[in-house]
């Protein structure tokens, strides 16, 4: 990239220098009344500009082709291309991330939903037994009640053994369900690298196009896109850095209460 940039600058600089030099000559010739000489300079100037322009356009086209090749975008046969383009591949990879995270979230939710009744069952029965136990300690229990308590305690303990194994097993499965992070992380890192590559190539192209614009005297109109403010943006990555975004629930509450909520 640095190569191209310096080359580019050299061409542009050469053209600029030549322009300055010949402009002075032109002025002298016009002043001295040498019309033929002046016209020759003008056509020479034109030629230089055209040549530089062609060079720049050529370089722009080459870079564009290179970029396209780099991303394996086959314009000839995209339909039956076995090597999918990098962009297409990236979309597939991201779809895989969505699928993996979706699966992991559902698996975790399944296990949590399955485990919760065990926890609440244990808690309910333990509370009952605790009450009975307190009555026993206070010696308020009749012998037949005590016999019922012993058998209830026995059932509870064996159920507790079984249920806590189940809870432990489900917790381990929840643990394992987090393995998606490793896989999706790798995929996302690869896609991020690709996006950076794309950006780098785009910047290169924009710079080259800028040179061509300079030669032709084109002025690019800055078209600022007015984004509709109500469009969903999804989660904010760095809310702290943005003025127009709240940084959490407390901010939301403050804002709403300032509106009379």
């Amino acid at each position: 990239m640095t190569n191209i940039k310096s080359l580019d600058d050299a061409t542009a600089l050469g053209f600029e220098n030549k322009l300055k030099e010949q402009a002075n000559q032109l002025k002298d010739l016009v002043d001295s009344g040498n019309v033929a000489g002046a016209l020759a300079i003008i056509s020479e100037l034109n030629e230089t500009r055209d040549k530089t322009l062609y060079q720049e356009v050529g370089r722009l086209t080459r870079t564009l082709h290179e970029s396209i090749r780099n991303f394996h975008i086959d314009t000839a046969n995209t339909a039956n291309n076995e090597d999918a383009s990098k962009i297409e591949d990236a979309s597939d990879r991201l779809a895989y991330v969505v699928e993996m995270t979706n699966k992991a979230a559902n698996k975790t939710l399944d296990l949590v939903e399955e485990t919760m009744p065990y926890a609440s069952g244990i808690s309910t029965e333990a509370k009952q037994l605790k009450d009975d136990w307190s009555r026993l300690q206070r010696k308020e229990m009749k012998p037949e009640e005590f016999r019922a308590l012993t058998s209830k305690m026995g059932t509870f303990l064996s159920k507790l053994c079984k249920d806590s194994d189940k809870v432990y097993g489900n917790l381990s499965a929840i643990l394992l369900a987090q393995d998606f992070q490793d896989l999706t992380g790798q995929v996302i890192n690869r896609v991020t690298t690709l996006v950076k590559d794309v950006e780098e190539n785009l910047v290169k192209l924009v710079m080259m196009a800028g040179k061509v614009d300079q030669m032709t005297g084109n002025v690019q109109q800055e078209t600022k896109q007015q984004e509709t403010n109500m469009q969903g943006e999804g989660p904010q990555m760095n809310a702290e850095a943005r003025e127009d975004v709240v940084s959490g629930q407390d901010d939301v509450d403050d804002l709403l209460s300032s509106l009379g909520f």
């Binding site: 943006e233 999804g234 127009d244 709240v246 509106l259």
Partner: protein, 128 residues
Amino acid sequence: MNKDMKILVVDDFSTMRRIIKNLLRDLGFANTDEADDGNTALPMLQTGKYDFLVTDWNMPGMTGIDLLRHVRADESLKTLPVLMVTAEAKRDQIVAAAQAGVNGYVVKPFTAAVLKEKIDKIFERIDS
């Protein structure tokens, strides 16, 4: 607050719907239905079966803010309490939701405690 009230949970991500449903169940609200965007939710709401709407903002089809506007414009639904649970955090959006008549706004990621607090607050105000 009536714990048997029927709640419609609208979010395009099924896992988020499940999480919200689970949290609501923990809070004692077991009577919940789901919809995946405004277009699915609106006809369900128009049956008049629902007492409370919990909706996301950013959804394909009809967004949550449009759903809210439709609800407020509908004679039979305009008093339905609506809680927005969303990742959208721009001040302008929150103001717009308030102007559209939202009853509460929770930003994701959120906790069970925040959800409870907002729901309590909404029904405190309605019941009083």
